[in-house]
Amino acid sequence: MLKTPDWELMIVWYFFLGGIAGGAYFTAAIADNFGTVRDRAVARTGYLLSLPLVGMCGMLLIADLGVPRRFLNMLAAFKFWDPMSIGAWMVGVFGLFTFVSSVLSFTSSEKMAALRRKIGLVGLLFGFFLASYTGVLISNSAMPFWSDARLMGALFLASGASTGMAAVSLLMFVTGATAGEGWGKVKKADRFSMIFELLVLAAFLFMLGSAAKPITTGHFAPLFWGGLVAMGLVIPLVLDLVGHRVRALAPIAAVLVLVGGFILRYVVLMSIQA
């Protein structure tokens, strides 16, 4: 007879936005370091997107506590084997990285830009962390399905990447920063992430077997198969592959990926807590 932690909508949002923040930041840092001058727009968009998102993550985490004014108690202890403990620290540390990178993304000094790239290389590790630790956190609980899923963190990371990249490409489209190769490269990286996410998801379901029932059958099945697998991954990939010459399809695909990413967190969290 187990008890659920009642981590509901606020935590669904936290997991979702944390994934995007992490994904957008590491995409930006990679573009900044390994891309060309013309990929600058990608880097700036990614850095500037991750900053407010991490801020929102922090607020969501605090608001969901039973005693929000005691949130600093998390930082009074550090348990290196405890995902919740490290996670609380990392949200703060990653927040600092997104802030510094965002500020430095406006610099015109080459020296500062070089510094920004170095900072990005370190910060991207924290971005990867933020996108995946939430999966490791729930898979190290006593809950069925969550605790059976060895690939929960890996899946959340892949989803953080695909949604983070989709958010960057969408933002670039909206702000008219789609000239040059940068935009195309983000979409290419996103395509790769989505294909990888589908593979991880297949392995995730295969390894879980009947333990995946809470999401693959019953009440949450239509959302999972229809909302995440079909609408959030397969359709955007098809749109991207067959329709990549039609510009207007790109933002539609990006929105679908984002909705799919939200649905993933939603079905995983709510299916065994409903």
Partner: protein, 258 residues
């Protein structure tokens, strides 16, 4: 560390009077709650933020077609390897010098990770205080030379309090006696400190298999997979990172990183 204290709950002696459940409520000032209809005499269905001792009333079908009435006074197990304690990010959950597990109500910030990390579903969230609640092993009493209120109130000695090593010896003898009397499924649950969760400091004598009492047969520490899960996440990060790197590396070589 002082000698480990324990509670031994011998379900074969329980008469279902609920003196323990009431004594716990009274001593710990746990307050009123709306009862659940469980279809039996049992109330509540499970531990709550105001019910730390709970007498379970279980009806087990016998081969003869009759029902056997099994009674069990359930409680936090004060596990030697406690999932709730490992999960707690604030350090609010701590182990006392007597080996019991307690939640410091002034430190808990109500994140509820412990609720999802107890293999027995013991910890409960209290909406009023915003903190996590569970049996304290009457921390105030044991630090003042008294046993837990439940053990004190129990009229049949179904709940016994003492040093763990003494109680385990006693419990083992009791199982032998019961077996000789014909209770062939009599068994200890959590007495073995080499068994699951490093042994339970509140352990039980059961008259049937653990699952009959809604207890997991082999409870596992939730944190056992943290390294594997993290490594798989790192692997995933490397693949994604390489993918992005290749996407951005494309063509433009020699364009300079100016």
């Amino acid at each position: 560390m002082a000698r480990t204290l324990a509670m031994f709950t011998d379900t074969s002696l329980c008469i279902g009077c609920r003196a323990c459940q009431v004594a716990c409520k009274q001593w710990n000032e746990l307050g009123l709650e709306v009862p659940d209809w469980t279809g039996t005499y049992q109330n509540h269905t499970h531990f709550t933020d105001k019910t730390f001792r709970l007498v379970r009333f279980i009806e087990e079908p016998k081969p003869t077609g009759d029902l056997a009435w099994l009674l069990m006074s359930d409680v936090c197990k004060h596990c030697a390897e406690a999932g709730c304690l490992d999960a707690c990010p604030t350090g609010a959950i701590y182990r006392t010098e007597y080996g019991t597990v307690n939640i410091n109500q002034d430190v808990c910030n109500g994140c509820r990770y412990c609720v999802s990390s107890c293999p027995f579903g013991v910890v409960s969230f209290n909406e009023t205080t915003g903190t996590a609640k569970k049996c304290t092993f009457c921390n105030d009493r044991i630090h003042n030379g008294l046993g837990p209120a439940c053990a004190k109130a129990c009229p049949t000695d179904s709940i016994q309090f003492g040093f763990r090593d003494d109680l385990v010896t006693k419990a083992q003898k009791r199982v032998e006696t019961l077996k000789a009397m014909g209770f062939k499924d009599a068994q200890l649950y959590g007495a073995d400190s080499k068994g699951f969760l490093g042994g339970l400091n509140a352990f039980f004598l059961l008259l049937s298999k653990p699952s009959t009492y809604s207890l997991p047969e082999q409870p596992k520490l939730p944190q056992r997979n943290v390294v594997v899960d993290s490594l798989l996440s790192v692997g995933s990060a490397i693949v994604i990172g390489l993918g992005a790197l290749l996407a951005f590396r494309d063509r433009e070589q020699g364009d300079g990183n100016a």
